[in-house]
Structure formats: structure tokens, C-alpha cells
């Protein structure tokens, strides 16, 4: 694991009566891609703003590349894609990006390239007011690429992007990570995040309830694997009786079993001989994990 | 001028008519009189002397827009004392004798109006002075300080 770029210790933030963040500790090392999940209002965006120094914390501390959040050094090291990108509508995409390039100390000549990269070359000289939602999001994306950030905070980066741009986006994220950027992605699109991140952090009502790799989380969650057993002929009834599973459209039986009981069950099924035509194994997916961690429910 | 078409007719001189500047009853004084009609005012403002009327016209002050100006036709007057109540003529068409050295009703040097140029000439021939139109009356004739010790003639 590389150097720690982002270090959040015990971050707390209260707003009026609300405890928006509560004892959140999180680290990100160079090249890591971390998904930040959580229900609406869990505090994801607030955490990002705190990392940016836009919002002061009420407790705990954050350091970004060794500096305090909001310090010039921290900001130079950080790229940010807000959840609701807003640009001045009377500027063109190129003008807006040029401003950011200048501020990020990045050669202005590269602006055209970045615009092309996010598919905005044609619209570059139109006013942002005429952009579609996705086009604005793309422009937001383009500004993330400026400079060589050590830390990228992407707040729902795929929102508004069309499917093809989403793939592009994850390609970009991978590329950034490869170049050593630590990427923190707040997202609700679990399927995408599942495959594309190294670690997953889940916020629940301001508390960090999970922060690990997908495998470890799966293990730790102890969520049951679903076995789908296709019966030969009309043996489904027998299988139900034997395993305590539930019958699915006549021929099949679904069986939930905890990870530690999986091999036992498999062996028992094998022993049943040719009444079992086929067994499919569905390990828990991120969605189930998410449900588990983010709601605190047990299935 | 255009507004002459809608100009109000002259008002007869009454015993109540007060001279605009000095608030005295003009009928009690001899000599030619004047009246000026102002827009939006029920009656005209009167002047015990034509001199004062001219002074009013020459003053840049305006109470309202002027709609008509009348002066006594001294040619139609019975005499200097009884100027007459109805013999008003439009000041624009009148002939004025200035610098005649005659005293008006209040005692200041008077500017004497006539409808008829001939009558004016007769007057000038008798008392001196020259004949001008309203617009040609010099400022001095109306506005110059008056030396009360200068003797003036009281015309018949």
C-alpha cells in the first residue's frame, strides 16, 4: 500500500440538532479507489466538503497530503467533482475549463485535449447555459483531470452521464489511480462501483459502518449464499423436505446458507444423487452487502 | 398668435378691481388701466397704471400662462380722469406713447395706450414722447427707478 494521502480521524460534524458526521475515520493511500456508499443524507457529501475544507468539522481532524484541509497545499493536491456541478451559464465550456486550468496551474494548451476526452469538443464554444445535464457533468469531469491531483473526490460522478460515458469515467478513474491518485467515489450505482473500486466504505447516518475490500466485507457480513438447486423430474418436493429451502417455479429450490455452512450443504446435496440436476451458487452481491451494512438490517 | 383665438374677452372695470401690485382700487385712480388674463384664474389681474402692466410683462415671473392682455384705449376715454369701463383694447394691437412725462393714476410716469395711431400722435404731439408697439416698449419705461421729485404733467 502506498503513502497515505487522505487521513480522516474521528471526524464529527453537527448541524443544528443533526449529527451529520459522527466519529468517521478513513484513510486513502495513493492509487486506491475507494467507494463511499450510504443512503441519502448519510453524510457522504458533507464528508467530502469537510475534506475540501469547505465545511469546518465540529470534531476530529483531517489531513490531506499532510496538510490541513482547505490549505493551499491541500487544495493543490485535490481534485473535486461536486454532486451538483454548477458553472456560470454565460461562459463557454472552454472558458470555464481554462479558468480552472489556470487556477490549477496546468498548461492552458491542455484544455482542448481534456474537452475532447470528455466528448465536449464540439460543444466547447457554446455557453454552458445551453448544455444538457450530462454535458455539464462531463465538463465537471474534465476539470477533475486538470493537474495531477493526489486525491480526487468524486461526488456521484456518474450521475447524468450516459452509459458510454460511464465506462469512460471508470477508465479515467483507473488511469488516475494508476498514476497514483487516491480516488474517493461517492456513488449510488453499486454495480459499477462493485467492479471498479479497491475498497468500499459505507456511511450510515453519519457513522462509518464499513470500510474494507469487497471480499472482507462479504466475509464479515456473513450473508448467506443462495444455492439454486434444479431438481430432476418431480424431485423438487423431496429436496425441499430435505433442505428446508423454498420452491421456485416447480422445478427448482432456493436455499440460503451462511458462508460457514455452505460446504456442508453442498456435500449433503451431492449425496442426494441424481435427484439434483444442477446447482447454481449465488454469493451475496454488493447490493445485499449494502443493504446489510447501510440499514443495519439482518436478512 | 394662436392663443388669441381662444383669448377671453376683456372684463369691465369694477369698483372692486384691485391693482395687482399695490392692492389699491384702480377705479379710484385716473389714467389708463390694464388687465391681464391668466390661464386657470377666474378673473383678470388689473393694473392701476399701464406702466405696471408692462412691468409685469417684462418681469420673468409668471403666475400662470397669459391668455390675454388688454389696456384702456385712451382715445376712447372721456378724459384722463374718467377713462371708461369698457373701452379695452388688445395690448398687442395698441399704440403706446412713452416718455411723455405724464403721471399715471398712481403718480408714476405713464405709458399711454391708444387704439388709433392718430390719437396717439395727437397725444405725443401735445405731451411729447414717442409711439411704440407693446413689444417695443423699452425696459426703462416700465422698470427704471422713479425719482419722485421729477415733476410730471397731469393730462386733461
Amino acid at each position: 500500500m502506498g503513502e497515505i494521502v487522505l487521513n480522516i480521524e474521528n471526524a464529527g460534524k453537527s448541524r443544528a440538532a443533526l449529527q451529520v458526521l459522527d466519529g468517521v475515520s478513513l484513510n486513502a493511500a495513493t492509487g486506491q479507489r475507494i467507494a463511499l456508499l450510504g443512503h441519502n443524507g448519510a453524510g457522504k457529501s458533507t464528508l467530502m466538503k469537510a475534506v475540501l475544507g469547505l465545511t469546518p468539522l465540529s470534531a476530529g481532524r483531517i489531513s490531506v497530503a499532510g496538510s490541513a484541509p482547505g490549505s493551499a497545499a491541500a487544495r493543490a493536491a485535490t481534485a473535486y467533482l461536486p454532486e451538483a456541478v454548477a458553472f456560470h451559464k454565460s461562459l463557454t465550456g472552454r472558458e470555464q475549463l481554462t479558468l480552472f486550468a489556470r487556477l490549477a496551474d496546468c498548461p492552458v494548451a491542455q484544455v482542448a485535449g481534456y474537452l475532447d476526452r470528455v466528448g465536449l469538443s464540439e460543444a466547447a464554444d457554446r455557453r454552458i447555459g445551453t448544455y444538457s445535464k450530462g454535458m455539464r457533468q462531463r465538463l465537471g469531469l474534465a476539470q477533475v483531470l486538470l493537474g495531477r491531483p493526489k486525491l480526487a473526490l468524486l461526488d456521484e460522478p456518474t450521475s447524468g452521464l450516459d452509459p458510454i460515458s460511464r465506462h469512460e469515467l471508470y477508465a479515467i478513474i483507473d488511469e488516475m489511480a494508476e498514476l497514483g491518485t487516491a480516488v474517493l467515489i461517492a456513488s449510488h450505482t453499486l454495480t459499477e462501483v462493485e467492479a471498479r473500486t479497491d475498497r468500499i466504505a459505507i456511511l450510515r447516518a453519519g457513522r462509518l459502518v464499513a470500510d474494507d475490500t469487497l471480499e472482507n466485507l462479504t466475509l464479515r457480513a456473513g450473508l448467506p449464499t443462495r444455492l439454486r438447486i434444479r431438481a430432476n423430474g418431480d424431485a423438487a418436493g423431496r429436496i425441499v423436505d430435505a433442505t428446508g429451502g423454498t420452491r421456485v417455479n416447480g422445478m427448482s429450490v432456493d436455499l440460503l446458507c451462511a458462508p460457514e455452512r455452505k460446504m456442508t450443504e453442498l456435500r449433503r446435496l451431492s449425496a442426494m444423487g441424481d435427484v439434483v440436476a444442477d446447482i447454481e451458487m449465488h454469493p451475496p452481491r454488493l447490493e445485499d452487502l449494502y443493504r446489510h451494512y447501510s440499514t443495519g438490517e439482518n436478512h | 398668435r394662436e392663443e388669441l383665438a381662444e383669448a377671453p374677452p376683456p372684463s369691465p372695470m369694477t369698483d372692486e378691481a384691485l391693482s395687482f401690485f399695490c392692492q389699491m382700487n384702480i377705479s379710484e385712480h385716473a389714467g389708463p388701466k390694464g388687465q391681464i388674463h391668466l390661464k386657470g384664474m377666474p378673473g383678470p389681474i388689473f393694473f392701476a397704471q399701464v406702466r405696471d402692466l408692462v412691468a409685469y410683462l417684462k418681469s420673468p415671473e409668471r403666475d400662470a400662462e397669459i391668455t390675454a392682455i388688454y389696456v384702456s384705449d385712451m382715445g376712447a376715454a372721456q378724459n384722463w380722469r374718467e377713462v371708461g369701463h369698457e373701452n379695452w383694447i388688445s395690448a398687442e394691437s395698441a399704440h403706446f406713447v412713452i416718455d411723455a412725462g405724464v403721471a399715471g393714476g398712481m403718480g408714476a410716469p405713464e405709458i399711454v395706450p391708444f387704439a388709433n395711431a392718430g390719437a396717439a400722435q395727437d397725444f405725443a404731439a401735445r405731451y411729447g414722447g414717442s409711439i411704440v408697439a407693446l413689444s417695443a416698449i423699452p425696459d426703462a419705461a416700465a422698470l427704471a427707478p422713479v425719482d419722485l421729485d421729477t415733476p410730471l404733467e397731469d393730462p386733461a
Binding site: - | 372692486e16 403718480g107 416700465a142
Partner: protein
């Protein structure tokens, strides 16, 4: 004796220097004092002229009429029917302490020299229109006449003085008249310490020279408190004009006059200059709360201060940083907007409009833009005190 004609009979018998004391009662007869006698009503006798001619006529010098109530003069303006008429010859005649009621004229000093009219109460007629009333005191060609301490009410003018000189009118009270004091063709006279209340016009001086109007009070007079009309070289000092409905002071073709120490307060216009009034000296006056302090349409500057003393202007919020009682900056009562409004009456419709205020405001800040008019380079921070008779405020007493 109360019989009609009793006075005449008694007078026939009287010798110059005698005093006739009348018994209480009303004597219906006209009296001619052609001897230097004193006719004394003792405050209880009434002379009634019966509606014909003048009630008392004096032709003898040094005759005295006093303590009488005099009523019933005739109504002829031509013969100036009066309560008391002082004709030529009545030099030094005295009319004192009489109450003249409802006579066409109260006292007519007609050619009498050095007459004295003192402490009379003259109630003129109310029944006729103002024009047809006579004057309270009529002074014609009466050099040296003094009118003092009289109380004149109703009638036309309180004192009308015509073609006279060396008169003194002082300490009189005038109410409900046309003019309180009316000067025509009079030189070298003085009006002082009088009170004019609720008349059409307070002190009107016309075609006169060298008149001193001083220490008079004018309250609630409708047209002008003090008017100078063709009047030159006069002195208007220490007067107080209050709450005139129109102008506190008005000058028409009047030159070389001096206004000083006057207080002009609460009038529509403080002082109004018109046609050809020039070389007047205006210093030490107080202009207080007049809606328009000065109305003077002029394209040249007129300095209203002398030797570092100007006038007091109640609307001038000025600084006196050195505390010498004289404001640090000059005061200009009128601005371009005033000139526009006086010369273009239609523009009055814009009064109160922000545009007008904008113009005024910039004019106020930069009076260099003004096209002439009155300028007071040494405005006084405080009004000078005036000494005028007390106006008791009782309008009916």
C-alpha cells in the same frame, strides 16, 4: 345739557381756552370747534352726527376733543364725512381718548398742521363693502401730525396718509382693515411701534421717500406685512412680520431702502422683490420658516450682507466651526429650480418630483451653477432679537 344743539349753543358762549365738560348722555348734533376750546365728554357723553356730514369739525388751533363717544357721521366720501375732522387752521388740535364708532371716517386730519390724535378707539363701519368704507384716520397734507396709541378697527385703511410729511404714527393697533397704515406721497415720516393684526395688508408705503418704519408688528396680515411701492430711501428696521398668508415684505420698484433687524417669519414668501427694485440694503434680518424665504428673479448677484454681517436664515443648516456666530458658508436662498418655477409656472407640476429634487440637490451642492440672485456671504447663526409691542393675542378686546 342734553338738548340737540345744546353744545353749539354752549360753544358760542365759550372763550378760547375754555373746557366744555359734557354731561352724560347722547347729543344729536354736529359740532364745529372754531375756537381753541376743549370738548370733554368725560367718557360718558356721546355725540351723534345724525348721519350727515362730520360729527365734530375743528378749524381752530389747539382745540381739544376728548373723552367722547362719537357716532353718526354722514356717508359721503366726497366731503369725507368723519367722526372728527381737523381742517386747515386746526393747528395743534388734539383728539384724545375718544371712542369713534361707525363713522365713515374716524378722524380726518385735513390740512391741519401738527395735529395730535392720541389714544382713541375707532371702530369703523362693518356694514358696507370694504371699498365703500372710510379710513380710520385720514391724514391729508398735515405736516407734523402725530397719531399715537389709537386702536383702529374695521373700515378701510387704519391710517391713510396722503401727500403729507413729517408725520409720526406710533403705538397704534389696527385690526380688520384693508391696510393698517397706507402711505401715499409722503416724505420724512415715521411709523413705529404699531400692531397690525389680520388686515389685508400691514404697512403699505407708496410713492414716498425717507419713511422710517420701525418696531412695528404685523400678524396674520393677508397680502403683505410690509410693502414698499415706488418708495425710496426709506428705513425698515426692527419690525416683526408673522404668519402672513402671502408675503412678509414686498418691494415693487423701490430703491435705496434699508432693511435691517427685521424678523420675517412664517409667511408664504419672506421677502419678494419685483420689477426694478435695486440698491436696497438687507442686513441683520431674520428670515424664519417662510416657505420661500426670498423671491427675487434676477440674473445678477445681489449681496445681502455688509461688513461681514448678513441675515439669519432658518432653513440654512450651516456649520459654524469657528463659533463666531456667522456661518462658514454663503447662503443662497434661491436656486435654478426656483427660477424655473417662477418663470415657467407649468413646471410647478413637477414639484416634489425626484427630478426636481435632483436638480435642487445638485444646485445646493454646487451653487456655482446658479444664474444669479440673492447671496448672503455672512449668514447669521442666530436671529437678532426684535423689540415690538406685545401682541396680547386677544383679537376681540
Amino acid at each position: 345739557p342734553l338738548r340737540d344743539g345744546a353744545i353749539a349753543e354752549t360753544l358760542d358762549l365759550a372763550a378760547p381756552g375754555d373746557t366744555l365738560r359734557l354731561r352724560p348722555g347722547t347729543y344729536v348734533e354736529k359740532t364745529l370747534l372754531d375756537k381753541s376750546v376743549t370738548l370733554d365728554g368725560g367718557g360718558v357723553a356721546t355725540l351723534d352726527g345724525g348721519g350727515q356730514g362730520s360729527v365734530v369739525t375743528i378749524t381752530a388751533p389747539n382745540a381739544v376733543v376728548q373723552g367722547l363717544t362719537i357716532v353718526g357721521s354722514g356717508s359721503d366720501h366726497e366731503s369725507i364725512d368723519s367722526g372728527v375732522q381737523l381742517l386747515k387752521g386746526a393747528t395743534g388740535a388734539v383728539v384724545r381718548d375718544n371712542h369713534l364708532i361707525g363713522n365713515l371716517y374716524g378722524v380726518d386730519i385735513h390740512g391741519a398742521h401738527d395735529a395730535l390724535v392720541i389714544d382713541n378707539r375707532i371702530d369703523g363701519r362693518q356694514d358696507r363693502r370694504m371699498n365703500d368704507r372710510g379710513n380710520g384716520i385720514y391724514v391729508w397734507n398735515a405736516p407734523g401730525a402725530q397719531v399715537t396709541g389709537n386702536d383702529v378697527r374695521w373700515g378701510r385703511d387704519g391710517i391713510f396718509v396722503n401727500s403729507s410729511k413729517r408725520n409720526l404714527f406710533s403705538d397704534n393697533r389696527f385690526r380688520d382693515l384693508r391696510f393698517a397704515v397706507h402711505y401715499m406721497y409722503v416724505n420724512n415720516s415715521e411709523v413705529s411701534g404699531n400692531i397690525s393684526i389680520g388686515n389685508d395688508l400691514g404697512y403699505a408705503v407708496m410713492f414716498s421717500k425717507r419713511v422710517r418704519v420701525t418696531g412695528n408688528l404685523s400678524v396674520n396680515d393677508r397680502e403683505h406685512g410690509i410693502m414698499l411701492n415706488y418708495t425710496n430711501s426709506s428705513e425698515i428696521t426692527g419690525n416683526s412680520v408673522q404668519n402672513g398668508e402671502n408675503r412678509c415684505a414686498f418691494l415693487y420698484n423701490s430703491n435705496k431702502n434699508t432693511f435691517s433687524g427685521n424678523r420675517f417669519q412664517g409667511c408664504e414668501i419672506g421677502i419678494h422683490f419685483t420689477a426694478g427694485s435695486a440698491d436696497n440694503q438687507i442686513t441683520g434680518n431674520a428670515f424664519i420658516a417662510n416657505r420661500t424665504q426670498v423671491k427675487y428673479v434676477s440674473t445678477r448677484w445681489d449681496e445681502w450682507s455688509m461688513d461681514g454681517v448678513g441675515n439669519h436664515w432658518s432653513d440654512f443648516a450651516a456649520y459654524d466651526v469657528d463659533g463666531n456666530g456667522i456661518a462658514d458658508t454663503a447662503y443662497r436662498p434661491n436656486d435654478v429650480m426656483d427660477q424655473v418655477l417662477w418663470t415657467q409656472p407649468a413646471a410647478k407640476l413637477l414639484l416634489g418630483s425626484p427630478a426636481v429634487q435632483l436638480v435642487r440637490w445638485s444646485q445646493a451642492a454646487f451653487p456655482a451653477l446658479l444664474p444669479g440672485g440673492v447671496m448672503d456671504s455672512f449668514p447669521l447663526m442666530q436671529p437678532a432679537p426684535v423689540s415690538v409691542p406685545e401682541f396680547g393675542g386677544d383679537l376681540d378686546g
